[in-house]
């Protein structure tokens, strides 16, 4: 099986905190699979996710330790993304690893411009190519039928679920290798949630998904692998079915059966 990302003894410390928030995490993220991160609030799921595209670097003073290896498309050659220093390297990294947030984050511009924003940044100037890629991305996010007649309207006028799918389309348009999702459905209604889950399952044909979720059913429905985190440690990682049916650790079992968390 091909790897997309592999962390090696990865530790992370926020500024002005004494103890590391993540302590020596080793987790493989397999290519074209969905990996879910679960665990009680404050255990470090978002911190781990946000390390993978170095979005932490928006704020100064964070401490990374260990390695996060990002593999090429063949799963052979890998680079340690923690070594990137220059802004250009980070920009390239973020074009390879996209991110979807908990609250939808449409930009205050038209639907079309939302999709083409990242494409333009990546250097595509040709108008027809931009429009084609936008259409493909919107179709891929099952949003095309709903917005094709109002591509020039503001994206702020869309419903929450539509906005979230727009954000997915916006990220997918860049053809990233990996997409990171941080509780992408926790602000949405059940129907929008279902459509996003379906979307994520389809996306794995083209890319790799790492998703943080508080919803156990969601994790078991859509993920192939699951990692259970607790207090900054990766307690258990396995095939999703095993985690939910035969967890090896008592903590994992307690958590998924709802005894704490």
């Amino acid at each position: 099986m091909k790897l997309a990302i592999q962390t090696k003894d990865f530790s992370f410390t926020y500024p002005k905190t004494k103890e590391a928030t993540l302590k020596g995490i080793n987790i493989p993220i397999y290519a074209n699979k969905v990996t879910a991160l679960i665990g009680p609030s404050g255990c470090g799921k978002s911190t781990l996710l946000r390390s993978c595209n170095r979005i932490h670097d928006v704020y100064p003073g964070n401490l990374y330790d260990g390695e996060i290896l990002l593999y090429d498309n063949n799963g052979e050659k890998a680079e340690n993304i923690l070594q990137y220093k220059k802004e250009n390297d980070l920009i390239n990294l973020r074009q390879r690893i996209g991110m979807i947030f908990q609250k939808p984050t449409p930009f205050p511009m038209s639907i079309k411009d939302n999709i083409t924003y990242g494409l333009k940044l990546s250097g595509i100037k040709n108008k027809t190519e931009l429009l084609d890629r936008a259409e493909i991305a919107l179709k891929g996010a099952a949003l095309w039928e709903e917005v094709k007649d109002r591509l020039n309207n503001s994206a702020m006028g869309l419903s929450g679920g539509q906005q979230q799918r727009l954000c997915i389309a916006r990220a997918v348009a860049l053809k990233p290798q990996v997409l990171l999702f941080d509780e992408p459905t926790s602000a949405l209604d059940p129907i929008s949630t279902a459509s996003i889950e379906e979307l994520i399952s389809e996306l794995k044909n083209e890319l790799t998904v790492l998703i943080v979720t508080h919803n156990m059913q969601q994790a078991s429905r859509i993920s192939d692998y699951t990692g259970f985190m607790y207090l900054g440690d990766l307690v258990e990682y396995d095939v999703t079915e095993t985690i939910f049916l035969n967890p090896k650790e008592k903590k994992t079992e307690d958590y998924i059966t709802g005894r704490f968390g």
Binding site: N53, I55, V58, E87, I91, N92, R94, Q95, G98, M99, F101, Q102, K103, T105, F107, P108, M109, Y117, G118, L121, S122, M156, C167, R170, A171, L174
Partner: protein, 271 residues
């Protein structure tokens, strides 16, 4: 029983206070309207101060405030952007932010005197540019503060979303953050403009006044507010009427700008 009584007293007192406040405001508006109405006629707008008209001073006021805006808005906005987006927690920006707040409450006559010392005396006399600079100085801290607070309303996730798509920090600020804060920023500019267009003290001994129509900012420069001040003091009925007319026009102007501001801000609130 006791509580009910207290309640009644407080309600009565605060209603009374509100009535007093409103009645003074109405008094001013009514007086201005009546006096202004009797004094305003068409020729005020077509002749200059020298012929007992207000054309040159109204236009002069707009030119002074307009150029001050052209200078003050970019400077104030860039400073506000720096404070919120770049130096958010640094010592330097804390000092700048506090100084800017102090400047905002500085009496405008103090700014007038400062500019008098720096741009009037060394340049050999009153001049329009000194007036422009005084107004710009008055404006900058207001723009800094509204920019700062409007940018603080833009959710952090929006900035992160831009970065996550491969934008640089500057691209995120100029394409996403500013456009998300657009309405608030425009409102801030309008309010700052409304603030300086009615100012007298910073102009009194910087640009002073001029009876004639003029584009020459290196000389004494006409303005409505300073004219009102001089006309009101001048013991002739014509002058006093003109002062009333000017005051009514100025009040309407400021009222109008404030109404526009409300109108612009409204659609955002409904969301």
């Amino acid at each position: 029983m006791n509580r009910l009584l207290l309640n009644k007293i407080v309600i009565t007192l605060s209603t009374l206070a509100a009535l007093i406040g409103i009645s003074f405001l109405l008094w001013i508006l009514i007086t201005l309207s009546i006096r202004g109405y009797h004094s305003i006629d068409w020729h005020i707008f077509t002749t200059d101060l020298v012929n007992n008209g207000l054309r040159n001073v109204i236009i002069g006021q707009f030119i002074l405030a307009g150029i001050a805006t052209v200078i003050g808005v970019p400077v104030g906005m860039m400073a506000g952007i720096y404070l919120r987006e770049y130096g958010i927690n640094s010592k330097f920006s804390m000092i700048v932010r506090n100084l800017s707040d102090v400047m905002m409450s500085a009496p405008s006559i103090v700014i007038g005197i400062f500019v008098y010392g720096i741009f009037v005396v060394p340049f050999g006399g009153f001049n329009g540019w000194a007036g422009v600079i005084a107004l710009a100085i008055l404006m900058i801290p207001i723009v800094v503060s509204t920019t700062d607070s409007m940018l603080s309303l833009v959710p952090q996730e929006l900035r992160e979303a831009g970065i996550a798509l491969g934008a640089s920090k500057a691209q995120v600020i100029y394409k996403i953050v500013l456009s998300a804060a657009k309405i608030g920023l425009i409102t801030g500019v309008l309010l700052a403009f409304a603030r300086v267009i009615g100012e007298t003290a910073p102009l009194l001994f910087t640009s002073a006044n001029n009876n004639f129509f003029s584009f020459g900012l290196s000389n004494q420069y006409p303005s409505l507010t300073v004219s009102i001040y001089h006309l009101a003091l001048f013991p002739s009925q014509t002058s006093q009427n003109l002062a009333w007319a000017g005051s009514a026009i100025l009040t309407l102007l400021v009222l109008f700008i404030n109404l526009i501001t409300r109108f612009i801000f409204k659609p955002r609130k409904q969301k």
